[in-house]
Amino acid sequence: MSESPPILALKDVRKAFGAVRALQDVSLELWGGEIHALAGENGAGKSTLVKTLAGVHRPDEGQVLLDGRPVEFHGPGDAQHAGVAVIYQEPTLFPDLSVAENIFMGRQPRSRFGRIDRRVLRAETAKLFVRLGVALDPDRPARGLSIADQQIVEIAKAISRDARVLIMDEPTAALSGNEVARLFTVARTLRDQGCALLFISHRLEEIFDLCRRVTTLRDGRYISTELLDGLTADDLVQRMVGRELDTLYPKQETTIGETVLKVSRLTREGVFTDVSFEVRSGEIVALAGLVGAGRSEVARAIFGIDRYDAGTVEVGTVRLAGGSPTTAMSAGLALVPEDRRQQGLVMEGSIERNIGLTQLRSLRRGPVISRKIERDRAADWAIRLQLKYARLSDAVGVLSGGNQQKVVLAKWLSTEPSVLIIDEPTRGIDVGTKSEVHRLLSELAGQGLAVLMISSDLPEVLGMADRVLVMHEGRLTAEIPRDQATEETVMAAATGQTRQEAA
């Protein structure tokens, strides 16, 4: 350790959102001239930590230290002023403004009378792009830039600020090999200039390639900080997961039956291309891949939310007309969406109302909906799914994430589907309830339901799936049976390093 204090540090930080404890007693030290990795599963609290460093969240307890002195960031502006720059997972650009304006927003070069000096603005931007080795027109609007280019603009923004601390929250998730290499070169240059960097990635080899030290979080708790030198990938996974996979993923043996969902050559231009696969009854098929690979989009197209340009979807023997969720539902499809709060539930509505939503017609007595039938139906499902609640008339908003997910499941299972598509089944759910959701999925498959599970959670994919389909940049790149599926084979296909023909 050097004598001078770390540039930026967290000390025993706690942060809770309602009942969810996002961070508990987490400490982190970022030293100048070093790239520090932050590892952890989805939902481990990495993003909350980043937002705390960036001044978006204020810690409930604990301190943020800048150059060893406690500081309080009252907003993102304060953090930026202190030299902390963040590149978020999702680039945060202004689509209607020019690239140059995006980079210098809030710090535009001025000429006389405080006006923006557009000539200098343009020249400075061009200089930054030369330094980054990219050819972008400073005057073009940010709208329509590819994710990689948006990322570059974000990096240019950070560099232009002469940031002392650069935090990168999964910057490589949507980048190609060349773009990642370019990013790493920039990161190393900044490190050599004395910046402190915090790097977050799901790709372990990137962490080992780029970083010197790693801090691991699990379920919002601080686990360890250590030098990567001498650590193996397995060690790191062990710290992130911290438990044996078998107990967490109670996979039942099932008998696999007929094909119930058949997707052939499905294409939506610019989003996904030539996607073909089958799901049989009793089978859990995982659809893995990096964020932005087009997995959710495929699910949305199958269910008829988005249209597709070519290909077919068959459920049983019925060929679905695209673009109609109603026909998809009556054919036996159910879709549990990625975002429970926005897409899965009416948050202010009661548990019973939410469960009844998919089946309003069958709740009728005469022309009107019967509260009694609605309540009985909901109570029945609550018992079957072991829902933890106080009253069925409570708003679903007060439930924990896991129990909310059960309500979404009840809502869709009550339509008696033959195929369940479930997008990120356990995102943002605590570990205990997570395994309950997993057990439930296993049971449902055991009863003959065909399950298509989209998941970014690699242990979940490996633990639950009978078969793993992997997507990369809008195409299926691999189909891996359960016994051959490992972290390496799945990640290799997800990052486009192997291109097996999907059977």
């Binding site: 960036a54 978006v56 907003g75 993102p76 502006g77 304060d78 930026q80 002023h81 963040v86 978020y88 945060t92 650009l93 202004f94 689509p95 209607d96 403004l97 020019s98 304006e101 927003m105 809030g106 710090r107 535009q108 001025r110 405080g114 006006r115 923006i116 000539r119 343009r122 061009a126 027109d137 400073p138 005057d139 073009r140 609007p141 709208r143 329509g144 590819s146 231009e269 610019g270 989003v271 291309t273 940049e473 809008g474």
Partner: protein, 339 residues
């Protein structure tokens, strides 16, 4: 611009695309005027042109203020009521006294500013949706105005000649009213384009989350936008009195929708982030011209609102269609890059 580099060419292209909306409105205006003049040659008389500009001035002034609000992804529906209130209040203020014009203008704008502060604080600090807040203040201000007026009206005879001269007189043949509007429009337009804080209004409307992360003082800017809209509505109120002399309590009743139409027709995106005060002012001029054209062509004036409405729908449809096309093109282009 002396430096003619390769990227200046690119810049000019982008500028041209952004200006396309203003140009197409201008083209529509020219066609409209040409056709009408062909039918009735007296349409383009000096007096006729002067009348159109006089009539468009107040609407354009309000459109300039509204643009600042709409660009931040908000809306100000209370402007019609503010014009009514200020017109009546300043009428009361000057009736029977010989007041200094500047003082009248300042009082009018202060009343407008107060209304703007109420709107702005509710929208920015209490995070109440702008539509609801300004709909509420629309009725509250209107109610206050009616209660105060109690059926009275301000008569031109009570208004000092100096003020009436402001509304109807001219300098070097150019009437004061359009002159004031153009000065205000250029000032606001220049501020929005050339100053860092001006660009922040666009940033807020373009992506509020990113604006927050960029450390922009969102609440302050939104408050400013409402205050500017209020002040300009106050100014418009005094000018209304100056132009018409006779003012009843429901002056400018229903104008808020006219103003919003002008702004949208003028190419300001209703979802914020895009558009200029020049476009909005042109939109106001176009709507006013259509009104005059209908009179000249002896079309029943009831049609005027319907045509304004149709134009609004057309403008929004064209915007949406263009946006979809651009998105589709970009999607396909990116796809080819990816493959």
């Amino acid at each position: 611009m002396a430096a003619l580099t390769a990227d200046a060419g690119g810049r000019r292209f982008v500028d041209m695309v952004l200006r396309a909306r203003e140009l197409s409105i201008l083209a529509a205006l020219i066609v409209l005027v040409a056709v009408t003049t062909a039918v009735n040659s007296s349409f383009l008389s000096t007096q006729g042109v002067k009348d159109i500009f006089l009539n468009a001035s107040i609407l354009a002034l309000l459109a300039v203020g509204q643009t600042m609000v709409v660009v931040t992804r908000n809306i100000d529906l209370s402007v019609g009521s503010v014009v009514g209130l200020v017109a009546f209040a300043s009428g009361k203020f000057v009736a029977g006294h010989d007041r200094n014009i500047l003082l009248v203008l300042v009082v009018g704008m202060l009343i407008g500013a107060a209304c703007g502060v109420v709107n702005g604080v509710l929208v920015s600090f209490f995070k109440v949706p702008a539509l609801v807040v300004t709909l509420g203040t629309l009725y509250v201000i209107q109610g206050l105005d009616y209660y105060w007026a109690h059926g009275q009206q301000i008569n031109a005879a009570d208004v000092p000649a100096s003020l009436l001269d402001l509304g109807n007189g001219s300098v070097l043949g150019i009437p004061y009213l359009p002159l004031i509007t153009v000065v205000v429009m250029v000032a606001v337009g220049y501020y929005l384009r050339a100053y860092p804080s001006g660009r922040e209004f666009y940033a807020i409307g373009s992506n509020p989350d990113a604006a927050r992360l960029a450390g922009i003082a969102i609440r302050k800017r939104i408050l400013t936008a409402y205050v500017v809209s209020g002040v300009l509505a106050g100014l418009a109120g005094v000018l209304w009195l100056a132009r018409f002399g006779t003012v009843v309590a429901d002056a400018a009743h229903g104008w808020e929708l006219k103003v919003v139409s002008a702004v949208v027709v003028g190419g300001v995106a209703i979802v914020g982030g895009l558009g200029s005060v020049y476009g909005a002012a042109l939109g106001a001029l176009l709507l006013t011209t259509i009104g005059s054209v209908l009179v000249v062509l002896k079309v029943n004036s009831f049609w005027q609102d319907a045509i304004a409405g149709a134009l609004l729908l057309l403008a929004i449809s064209v915007d949406r269609l263009l946006a979809l096309r651009v998105n589709r093109a970009l999607r396909k282009r990116n796809a080819r890059h990816g493959a």
